[in-house]
Amino acid sequence: MTITKDGARFVETEIDDEVVLMDVESGTFFSLAGTSLAVWRLIDGSRGEGEIAAALAADYDAPVEQVAADVAAFLAELREAGLVTG
């Protein structure tokens, strides 16, 4: 299943090497940098969780198994926050 951002749910702005998100329903702010930002950028509506993990592993030259758990945990946080679906 592909992961999709819920664009109506947040606004974002890029500051240097960071993206700050504001949930426009709850008013909560999120700061994404480093690998969390890399995952966020890989969520383009065309990739599933496994593909995102594979792309991140390729970007960081790391074993997929090593990054898959972290990607899954981060995506779970994003789902729980209502920022992504899928």
């Binding site: 606004v11 500051i15 240097d16 700050v20 700061s31």
Partner: protein
């Protein structure tokens, strides 16, 4: 040029501002942002630049600045802390009541400069001029709500 307001009308404005600040604090504390966001205005895209308080104010901006001073004065007299967002919401409601177009902007400081009390900030601009909440930048605008 507008005639100066009588002392009692000035006090009434400060009282109005105090009530609006209290209302805004309650709103922020108890009601999810999404429930009242639209009442402040529609979301618009804006440049990621921070506030710029330069230039001569137009009559509308000058009036907005006068109202903003009442908001700041009221905030200083309240026994509860009223930071930038409740002040901005209070002024936005006062401006709306008077038909003065404005934008409310919510912004964040860049990461390397973060760590203080004012990592997030809100201000009000009228005709491009900051009339309330002009803190030194840099700021990255996250959300701009424009009155109708």
């Amino acid at each position: 040029m507008n005639a100066p307001l009588s002392p009692w009308r000035l006090r009434a404005r400060t009282g109005e501002a105090a009530l609006e600040i209290l209302r805004a604090r309650a709103l922020i504390a108890f009601v999810p942002f999404g429930r009242w966001r639209d009442r402040l205005g529609g979301m618009v895209t804006a440049d990621a630049d921070g506030p710029d308080a330069g230039g001569d104010p137009s009559p509308l901006a000058a009036e907005a600045r006068r109202l903003a001073r009442h908001v700041d004065r009221a905030a200083g007299r309240l026994p509860l802390a009223a930071k930038c967002l409740p002040r901005a919401i209070a002024l936005a409601r006062m401006l709306r009541r008077r038909g003065i177009p404005h934008v409310l902007v919510i912004a964040a400081r860049p990461g390397p400069l973060r760590g203080g009390e004012d990592d997030l900030h809100a201000w009000i601009a009228v005709e491009g001029l900051i009339v309330l909440g002009n803190l030194p930048g840099p700021w990255a605008c996250l959300l701009t709500l424009a009155s109708g």
